[in-house]
Symmetry: C2
Subunit: 142 residues, 2 copies
DNA sequence: GATTTCCCTATTTTGTCAATAGGTTTTTGA
DNA sequence: TCAAAAACCTATTGACAAAATAGGGAAATC
């Protein structure tokens, strides 16, 4: 199950894509529009910024903006970053110690197949696909 | 993420399919083979039995057995039952109160698409696909 | 230099999952 | 008929991660 953090992250990315028009959007504005507490939202924006999905600028006139065009943000990137992983089971996480039963594990193929299905789907949808028609023009967003 | 309960459930179903040969397998035997505590395993078998994926028989000579041929168990059924749902977000769970933002929700299409990708994949694989070659003959398992 | 705004670390709260415990009922078979 | 074997049932504990809060520090602007 995608957690609150990942779901909020996606909403926030859409919000910025639709409202930024190339400018920096302050946290308070996003929080109000999305009805998320400023403090909790902040913890999510930190992750998105550290992962280079957003650019943060301090001081008056500062805020957050996208680093790329919406069509260059696969949803998979957003969810993977904020959730830590997209893997449906722990043993498929990046850098997991390979389970000792790996040779005899009868269930591994299912999880690998599921993992691929999830990745393929979420990699094939981008932020641009989720925007309101009039906000979807890439040029208007950077 | 699929929880321990769901992963164990799948392992147990495979175990029974491969070892039952039409007989009832007692919990203790399965627990030992799978290295799962008897008490915890019991809580999982209760779910599988109530959901009619297994048949339980009490008393000496009793235990658990499949109710159908392995090829008639989509993995989706096993995981959905033990996890409660396959939905990647709460608002897509069976019987969830529809979110009030539904009309304006920009993220819903992603979750619906992901939901479908997961369901399609897990519905297309059955228990029979995961068995050792020599146990895969359906007739030997009921 | 005061205000705005992001940045950083830590803590509390909450809730679910994993696991355990202890008992009850049914069935068999000696 | 009674002891053993086995599933069935309810409740509780323990551990951990997620959600949310708190308080302050650093950069940029005007």
């Amino acid at each position: 199950m995608i957690s609150t953090r990942g779901r909020y992250a996606l909403r926030v990315m859409i919000d910025i894509a639709e409202n930024s028009h190339g400018n920096y959007l302050p946290l308070t504005e996003i929080a109000e529009r999305q009805n998320i507490s400023e403090k909790y939202l902040e913890s999510i924006l930190v992750i998105l910024t550290r992962g280079s999905l957003l650019l943060g600028l301090r001081g008056k006139g500062g805020g957050y903006k996208l680093t790329r065009k919406p069509s260059e943000y696969p949803i998979a990137d957003i969810i993977r970053l904020t959730e830590g992983s997209l893997a449906p089971v722990a043993c498929l996480k990046e850098g997991a110690v390979p389970c000792e039963r790996v040779g005899e594990c009868r269930t591994l193929p299912v999880w690998q197949g599921l993992n691929r299905a999830i990745n393929d789907y979420l990699s094939g949808v981008t932020l641009a696909d989720l925007l309101k028609p009039d906000a979807a023009e890439d040029s208007a967003c950077l």
